[in-house]
Structures are given as C-alpha cells and as structure tokens.
C-alpha cells in the first residue's frame, strides 16, 4: 500500500491571529512509510499548522490537503486521519468508553472497534471511569485511542510524549514506528529533539512560523555548522592564518589547539601538509541533534529565557 503522492501537502500556509503571525508561507509534504518529526520551539507555530491541517482553523492564505483534499471535505475522516491535538479533548464527565462511542458513532464505526482501541492503549480496566479522573498520561492514551478508532492511514499527534512515563514513551515510540512500517503516514510534533532522534526518520523544523529544515534526521545533523574539526598541532599559530586565508574559521582552543569549522578533516590535513605543518590530532566532532536544533532555531526562539539554555530544556 505504498503511496506515491504525499499524504499531507501544506502549500504557502499563512495564519494570522489578529496582528500575530503564527505561521508564514509554510510549505512541506508528509510522506507515508516513515515517521516525520515536526519540530520547533514552543510558540513556533506547530500546533497552529496541525490545527489548519485538521480543518479546525482556517488559513489566512495557502492551503493544507489531506489525501488530496481539504480536511473539511472528508465525510468520515476517522477512517483516514487519526489525530490527537490535546490530551484533554474530552468531556470530563463522560467515561472513556462513552467518549469513544460518541466519536465512533459520528463516523459509523463498529462498536467492537471501541473495545479494540481501549485494549490497544491499555485503558480497558478503567474504560467505565469518568475521564475527568484520568491522569495526564491516561488522557494521552485516551486521545491516542480516539485517533486509532478508524484504523486510519494517517496519524497526527501533537506532543504525544508529554505526561507519559518511560514505559508509556517506549510504547508510543514503538506504536509510531510500527505504524510507519505498515506504510502509513505519521506526523508527530515535539519540542524534544532527543525524542525525535529516537523516533523519527525525517524532520520538518520550523521556527517563528517559518520552515527551517525539511530533511532526514542525518542530513539535519550533517548540515549543522556545529560540525567541527578539532586540531592539535605544535604549529597551531602558523596553521590558523593559513586556514583563514582560505575562508575557513579556526578558533584557538588553548595552546596547540584549534577548533575549525567549515572544512573537512581531509582539507585541513592537505593544507597543513603543503606548508609542512605537523599535525598531532585531527578529529571530527559531530554535532548532536540537540545542537543542530539549537543552531537552526537560535534566531527564531520566541521566548528567550537565557541564551545559554536550550529551548528544548527550558520548555521540558
């Protein structure tokens, strides 16, 4: 059931709330068969984008298509798209089973499927309890259960990790992966790079409502300027100007040490050898995903706490 066309197509999406620009000229595709991480600092427009994709908010300009059509034109959308935007999107007085029943009936979904999804998310034993008594983690599970009701080909989850214990996190990671392996489309938002590194294969990174990156996890890391080469040489003072002549940044990192960005180990080694400079160490230091994320979003973090604090950490 591999598809050739993208399941979700966002084109020139712009959304203003009054004078606030939440999303600006955002375009991307979400492909089936892999987990796509939708990353950005808090307030970067992730939730707004998901709300427009799901037809809850009307775009100011641009469009978002799901399986080739605007979401609002789907007649029984639960069979195509399962979504959880908010772990508390239920009436607290209704039991988990009744909540799912109300949604299932709206799409003519068979009743036995309700018990199946309750079992799948591990809420069978509390299915008759008022959902208002649920913990955040149980609310997440109920939200995911409602997303799975129609056994959809597309799954959209906004910050599904929030409030889950380690066991729950592992469970959802496996769920998302197996979904993608079956050829379905998974779009999952997060402000936690580290989590996405473990779950997603592809990343869409936004900051202040603009697209910053749309690439594989590996490429996002590789493209980061934080990839640097550490050089140890007794002639470091002589090497630095040689690199600078070629437009390569070299910063002194203590006696005999340089941190070089914008060049490969091969290039640095060649430059050194032509000038007969002795090299004792030449090592590539790859940026972590967290650093790559910082790099991408540094200028677009809406709520600066302290420049030295990663947005992911400050918000977690």
């Amino acid at each position: 059931m591999k598809k050739h066309s993208p399941s979700i197509e966002v084109r020139g999406l712009t959304k203003h709330y009054g004078a606030t620009v939440a999303v600006s000229h955002l375009s991307f595709d979400v492909q089936p068969g892999r987990v796509t991480g939708f990353l950005g600092p808090n307030g970067s427009g992730k939730s707004t984008t998901l709300r427009v994709i799901l037809g809850l908010d009307a775009p100011t300009a641009g469009s978002a298509l799901v399986n080739g059509r605007p979401f609002s034109e789907h007649h029984e959308p639960l069979f195509e798209v399962g979504a959880m935007l908010d772990p508390k999107a239920f009436h607290p007085g209704r039991s988990a089973r009744n909540h799912l029943t109300c949604l299932a009936l709206a799409n003519g979904i068979e009743r036995h499927r309700i018990d199946e999804v309750l079992d799948l998310v591990g809420l069978t034993s509390v299915a008759s309890k008022r959902a208002g008594s649920f913990s955040l983690g149980m609310g997440q599970r109920l939200g995911i259960a409602s997303a799975l009701l129609g056994d959809p080909g597309i799954l959209i989850l906004d910050e599904p990790i929030n409030g889950l214990d380690p066991g729950g996190i592992l469970w959802i990671r496996n769920l998302l992966r197996s979904f993608a392996t079956e050829g379905r489309t998974v779009l999952v938002s997060s402000h936690l790079m580290s989590e996405m590194a473990l779950t997603a294969e592809h990343l869409i990174v936004i900051g202040q409502g603009r697209l910053l990156a749309d690439d594989s996890v590996d490429n996002v890391v590789a493209a980061s300027g934080h990839n640097s080469v550490h050089v140890r040489s007794p002639q470091a003072d002589a090497l630095a100007p040689l690199l600078a002549q070629r437009g390569i940044t070299a910063i002194s990192d203590g006696p005999d040490r340089l941190v070089v960005t914008g060049a490969t180990t091969d290039q640095i080694g060649d430059i050194a050898s032509t000038s007969a400079i002795t090299i004792h160490e030449l090592s590539l230091k790859q940026a972590s995903l967290e650093e790559a994320f910082m790099e991408l979003t540094h200028d677009s973090v809406q709520y600066h706490t302290d420049n030295s604090v990663l947005p992911a950490e400050s918000a977690a």
Binding site: D57, P59, R69, F71, D86, R94, L103, L105, P152
Partner: protein, 290 residues
C-alpha cells in the same frame, strides 16, 4: 474566508447511510492509503444524530437538568394551583395556572441547551468532535434537533401530568382536557420547551462561553420583560408581546388577552426566534476557528 468550501450533502435517498444502530455494515477499514476516490456522497446526518444522541445520554447533567425541569413543572404547577384564591372571573385561566411551572422549567431546559454546546468548547471536546465530523453546521443542527426533540417529549409528558395534578388541586374551578384551548395549551408547553431547546443550542453556539450564554438567555427571558416595564404603557404593550418568552408563552394561555399575541401566532414568532438563533449559530460555527 475559508478556502475549504464544503459541498453540502445532496438530499438523502434511501441510501446505506440509513442503517440501523446495531448492525453497521461496510465500516471495515477502507483502503485509506489509496488515491483519493470520489466518495459515494451521502448524508452525514444519520451518523451525527446518533453521535449527538449518545453525547446527550452519557453526561449526568442531562439527567439532573431534565429531572429539575420535570420537578419544577409539576411541583410548582401543583403549588400554584393549590394556593389559587381567584375564581371564575374574566381573567381566571385554570389551564394556564396549572401549567405555570413551565416558567421555572424553561430555565433548566435553556441552561442545559446552552451547556450542550458551551461545555464542548470549555472542555476541548469540540476539537475531537470536529476532527471526527468536520461538517460543523450539520453537527450543531443535529445537536439542536436531538435536544429540541428531547425537550419537547419531556416537556409534553410533564405538561400532561401537571395539568391533571393542577386541575385536581383547583377542585371545582378546574377544567377537563376537553375545555376550550386546554389540549392546545398542554401540548403547547412541550412545543415551547422544544423550541426553547433549539433557541438555547443556537445561543450557546453563538456565544460559546457558558456563563455568557446563560446570562444572555436569562436576560432575554427574564430581564428584558422587566426592563420594558419602564416604558410608557402604550409603547410597552406593543413591544412586550413580541419578546421571545411572551410570544412563545401565548400558546398556553386560554383566556384572550389583548396584551399578548394569539396562541399560534405567538408560537410562530417564537419559532422564528429559535430559527434565527440557530441560523446565526450555524453561520458563525463555519466561519470561526474552533
């Protein structure tokens, strides 16, 4: 505003959408990953009506509010009938007296109708609802239809009971269901409450905030008539009868009163209010972000 103009469902024929609740065929997983195929176009109403009926049945506030409306109607009707000291003069209206509990019951029905919508907004349920059913107008229309019907049925049953209880309390001054205008009044109470339910669902959809919508409802039903008392009599009498509550309540007055509309004209005016409230709600629910 929205680029996602919704094509409304064509008239439902005897299509597969009208399937029974217990046996729902063809809901196995469709090949959702296939290229977009033209869906067999059919009405979303059967599913949405069932969903809204389930929503109404599965929260406690429904039972509390309906029980309160029932108790207010029968209890207050009995008390007022038992304490009546008037006698058969020109303005004595035994039918209307026995039904006076509706003035209290209407508040319970109205509040419940408002909350059916506003509680979805306050809890976040509305997003789950619209993700399952993006046809927002049809969702609200289904809610109004289900609740209007329930309010009509509960109101009519309570009205019959309170009529017989009240007439027995009135003793020799009581009348039978065969009296002029009696049956029309008793069923009229149900009609009034049913339309009030639709009116309240519309109001909740327009205002979305529970406290605000309840305040607006009470303002229209209770405060506005009181405020009009400040106007000169001639002006007040010509406006007063067109207020929503006064117009609708004309359906259960059997004694002709020059200050109110005739019963059927009154309920028709009230129906226009209900339709306007729902209509504005349907327009706004499409336009606004959820």
């Amino acid at each position: 505003m929205s680029s996602t103009e919704l094509v409304l469902d064509p008239p439902a024929t005897s299509d597969p959408a009208l399937r029974p609740v217990t046996a729902v065929p063809d809901v196995g997983r469709a090949d959702t990953a296939g290229p977009p195929v033209a869906e067999p176009v059919r009405s979303v109403f059967p599913n949405l009506l069932r969903s809204e009926w389930a929503k109404l049945r599965t929260v406690r506030s429904t039972y509390w509010s309906l029980a309160a409306a029932f108790a207010a109607m029968v209890g207050l009707g009995a008390i007022i009938s038992a304490t009546q000291t008037g006698s058969h003069t020109g303005s004595f209206d035994p039918v209307s007296i026995s039904l006076s509990g509706v003035l209290l019951a209407q508040l319970a029905i109205g509040v419940l109708g408002v909350l059916l919508v506003t509680s979805e907004y306050s809890t976040g349920m509305i997003r789950s609802t619209f993700i399952a059913a993006p046809q927002r107008r049809e969702v609200i229309a289904s809610k109004a239809a289900i609740f209007g019907l329930v309010a009509f049925v509960v109101g009519t049953v309570a009205s019959f009971i309170t009529f017989f209880v009240g007439q027995s309390m009135l003793g020799s001054r009581g009348v039978s269901l065969g009296a002029a205008g009696a049956l029309r009044s008793v069923i009229g109470v149900g009609l009034y409450l049913g339309l009030l339910g639709v009116f309240a669902v519309g109001l909740g959809t327009i205002i979305r905030n529970g406290a605000g919508a309840i305040a607006a409802l009470f303002g229209l039903l209770l405060v506005l008539p009181a405020v009009l008392q400040a106007l000169p009599t001639s002006l007040r009498d010509s406006i007063d009868k067109f207020l929503p509550g006064n117009a609708g309540q004309a359906i259960f007055h059997t004694v002709n009163d020059t200050t109110s509309l005739s019963p059927w004209l009154g309920i028709a005016v009230f129906a226009i209010y209900a339709a306007a409230s729902l209509g504005i709600g349907l327009i706004l629910v499409r336009r606004r972000d959820a």
